[in-house]
């Protein structure tokens, strides 16, 4: 089975920089941003989206529901 191609979006304002998404991403597609958000956290950043396989692990583990996961599909 070829790996699915995926992508995530992080709601960086909502993010608290806990790093759990980073810790579970099997392809290391996520990293902390260098910038602060208005709460003062370094939010997660969807950095290497080419690596993303749409496994949703990051979504599953994110305690602040910051992540939206997309998967590439055959266009209809």
């Amino acid at each position: 089975m070829p790996k699915a191609k995926g992508m995530i979006e992080v709601n960086q304002e909502r993010c608290k920089g806990c790093g759990l998404c980073i810790s579970v991403c099997p392809t290391k597609a996520i990293e902390f941003s260098d910038a602060f958000n208005s709460k003062g956290y370094h939010p997660a950043e969807a950095k290497y989206m080419d690596k993303c396989i749409a496994c949703s692990f990051c979504y599953y583990i994110c305690p602040d529901v910051c992540i939206t996961v997309y998967r590439e599909i055959e266009s209809a």
Partner: protein, 183 residues
């Protein structure tokens, strides 16, 4: 004379301890003192702060909404508290975290690069002591000596190995505070 002080920042920035040490120093100096924390659910994302009152007479109210000296360690605290400094009062800003200016011109604003100084001293955790030094440097409200005594008391026991670096941080901060005023 009565001086009211507010120390505000994130929970982890040691604002409560700053207030306690200066209160202790005040007590050692023979003043009447009270220390009052903001308290609430352990949260997280809000600001924590404490109010210290140093006075020559009995402290009537440990709570206040205005203060002669306000220390802000992060942006939300700046936003929340800068308007509460009394005219001619002091606002001390943790420059390492707060990348903006105060909107007030009727007060003394002192910016302190707490983290950088602490980093130089090899212990990021003493950033709050840098600020505390700046406070007394800027306001002369307490003698450095009594602040050191208070520090020693607070860190006696297990943490006494940390006294030296904390003193250094205070001294550095003190200089920054003094210089800022000199400007």
């Amino acid at each position: 004379m009565t001086t009211r002080m507010i120390f505000a920042g994130f929970g982890g920035q040691g604002v409560m301890l700053m207030g306690q040490i200066i209160s202790l120093a005040g007590m050692i100096e023979g003043k009447y003192v009270t220390w009052m924390p903001s308290y609430g659910p352990e949260m997280r994302g809000g600001t924590a702060n404490c109010t210290v009152v140093l006075s020559d007479e009995e402290v009537a109210s440990p709570v206040t909404d205005k203060a002669e000296v306000i220390v802000v360690m992060n942006i939300p605290s700046l936003v929340k508290f800068q308007t509460d400094v009394t005219p001619n009062g002091f606002l001390l800003i943790n420059q390492s975290v707060i990348d903006r200016d105060a909107d007030r011109s009727d007060i003394h604003v002192i910016k302190v690069p707490c983290n950088e100084v602490a980093d130089e001293l090899g212990n990021l955790k003493v950033a709050n002591m840098v600020m505390l030094g700046a406070v007394i440097g800027g306001t002369d409200i307490i003698s450095t000596d009594n602040l050191f005594k208070a520090l020693e008391k607070k860190l006696s026991g297990g943490k006494s190995s940390l006294i030296e670096v904390n003193k250094k941080a205070i001294t550095k901060g003190y200089e920054i505070g003094k210089m800022a005023l000199a400007k």
